[in-house]
Every structure is written in structure tokens, then in C-alpha cells.
Symmetry: C2
Subunit: 142 residues, 2 copies
DNA sequence: ATTACTGCAAATCTTTTGCAATAAG
DNA sequence: CTTATTGCAAAAGATTTGCAGTAAT
């Protein structure tokens, strides 16, 4: 239900960041705004090149990374062979089904943990981000 | 201070699992028992091939995966370009310093989280594992 | 004697890069 | 006009695999 990344938003933000609106970029933006989250470069490339056949994979790779730098996407390493990109910029976490690979977004109202200070080696480290990664069997694979 | 993987333990367990004790495997076992945790295949290969020069990288790749299958190691995907392997089989979590890349082990006494049920899409999924991944700046990089 | 294991080299797969041509602002 | 962007093809890096020979049990 989250209207997370419509085309206009992407176009507007990219313009702010000084990215030029090439046709290739427009196609990629549109694919991303329609696609489900957690896409790989190749998934985007497959769809995009159907609409814009002379598109090069390198262009998609470069665009995705530029979008990350510009804050339009998030890198999402879920452990597969390819990097994934998340169009959902809200703070959230993930559940991965070990059977079918499906990824579900998780939103936490609250999280609290108590570290075993004797055995943990944090010293005076400063924690900047917390990522919860749940694995298991999804509702359809149970 | 955790005497986590001495050579005898590895040899014993591998014998149980029916792995043959080749010289190559022995060298790899010894490296792993001396090494710090979170090693890459290449790190093991570099050290091992110093002692056993005709060792092939493919052998190390295969051995590490066999050890995972046999439950002697754990795959540890920390997002770098290479897979890491964890010799620490206890349940624990990780903190990664975004400055220097150092990995610290974290042991939790307790963790509790409250999911936003409306926005999270878990259905009747069954959760099998929980992985906490903290990032930040370690004590030395602060 | 069986069967697992090894080294090698080639293959695969993902991602990056150099470069000259092109197009957006 | 200036600078970012593109396509291509090559390169890079990690990992896997086929195969024939070798060694552990």
C-alpha cells in the first residue's frame, strides 16, 4: 500500500541532484517505479531493454549506483549472487524465505536488545545503523 | 578468549563426517584453528599455500564449502566482494566498522522487538533465525 | 579396491572500466 | 558550448566445474 516511488518523485529528485534526464534513465526510472522492491540490476535491465533495446547493461549498473549515491535507492545485500536495490527508503528490515527466496519488508515499532558486555567486543564503538535480518519459511511455503 | 576451534576439534569432527585427512585439508584446518574468525577463502589460501605451495585455490574453495556442509564452519556474508567464513559456531551477531572494515562479534543476552503488524507482511511465516547486523565506527576509528 | 580428493585450466557470473561518440542542459 | 552520459568491448574479480590423475581408507 506504500506509494513508495512513483515516477514523478524520481524525476524530481534526480533533477535536484543534477542528473540529466536521458531516455535511458527515464526508462529505468519508470521500471523502478512500477517494479516491486528488491530488484537486481539484471531484472531492471531485462525489463528496460524490452522497451529500449539498445540499452547497455553497463548503463543500468551505472545508473543504479548513481541513484544510490543520490539517495534514491538503497543497496540491499541479501546474500544472493547479485546485489539488490531497494526502492523503499523508509527504515525497515527484511525477512527472507529460505524456501522460495521471497523477501518481505518488516517494520518495527520497537526493538530492544541487551548485549553480553563481557563477551562482546564493542569498546567505545559508535553504532550508526541496526539491521534485523530474519530467515525462515514464508506463509506460502509453510 | 574463546578457544573456539583448535585443531583437534576440527580433525575429530571431520573424521566423524567422513572427510579424509589429506595433507591439504590438514593445512587448511591448522590455518583455520590459528586464524582469526571471518576469513575469506583467499586469506586462507594465501597462508596455506605458503606452507603447501602446490595447493590449488579450488581445493580451498571446495574444502571451505564442505566444512560448511559438515557444520564445521558458517558462511558469513558481510557484504564485501568475497564470502567470509566464520569459525565461531556459537550463536552470535556482528558489528562492522564502516571505516576500517573490522568485524566484532556480539553476544546478546536478550533481544525483543515489536513488529508493526499492519505494515509488515509476515502472514503465517515461521521464523527460524534472527540476525542482528550493526554498523558504525569502531573504537579505534572514532 | 573404492571412493574421495586434488590440481589444473577453462568456464561462469557479476560488476567495473576505458574510450570515443553522443546528447542534455 | 560544456559536461554528463552512453554503448561497446575488454577487464577484473570471485567462484565453480570437468576431468584425469592421485591418494586416503
Amino acid at each position: 500500500m506504500t506509494e513508495n516511488n512513483n515516477l514523478e518523485k524520481l524525476v524530481g529528485l534526480s533533477k535536484e541532484k543534477g542528473l540529466k534526464l536521458t531516455p535511458q534513465r527515464m526508462v529505468i526510472f519508470r521500471i523502478l517505479s512500477e517494479c516491486n522492491q528488491h530488484v537486481t540490476v539484471d531484472q531492471v535491465y531485462q525489463k528496460a531493454s524490452a522497451e529500449y533495446p539498445m540499452l547497455s547493461p553497463a548503463t543500468v549498473y551505472r545508473n543504479m549506483e548513481q541513484m544510490v549515491d543520490a539517495g534514491l535507492l538503497t543497496r540491499l545485500d541479501l546474500g544472493g549472487s547479485s546485489m539488490r536495490y531497494d526502492t523503499n527508503l523508509e527504515e525497515h528490515h527484511h525477512f527472507v524465505c529460505t524456501e522460495c527466496g521471497k523477501v518481505s519488508d518488516l517494520y518495527l515499532e520497537d526493538i530492544q536488545y541487551k548485549m553480553d558486555a563481557n563477551r562482546s567486543q564493542l569498546g567505545k564503538a559508535k553504532i550508526n545503523s541496526l539491521d534485523l535480518h530474519l530467515q525462515g519459511t514464508c506463509g506460502e511455503c509453510v
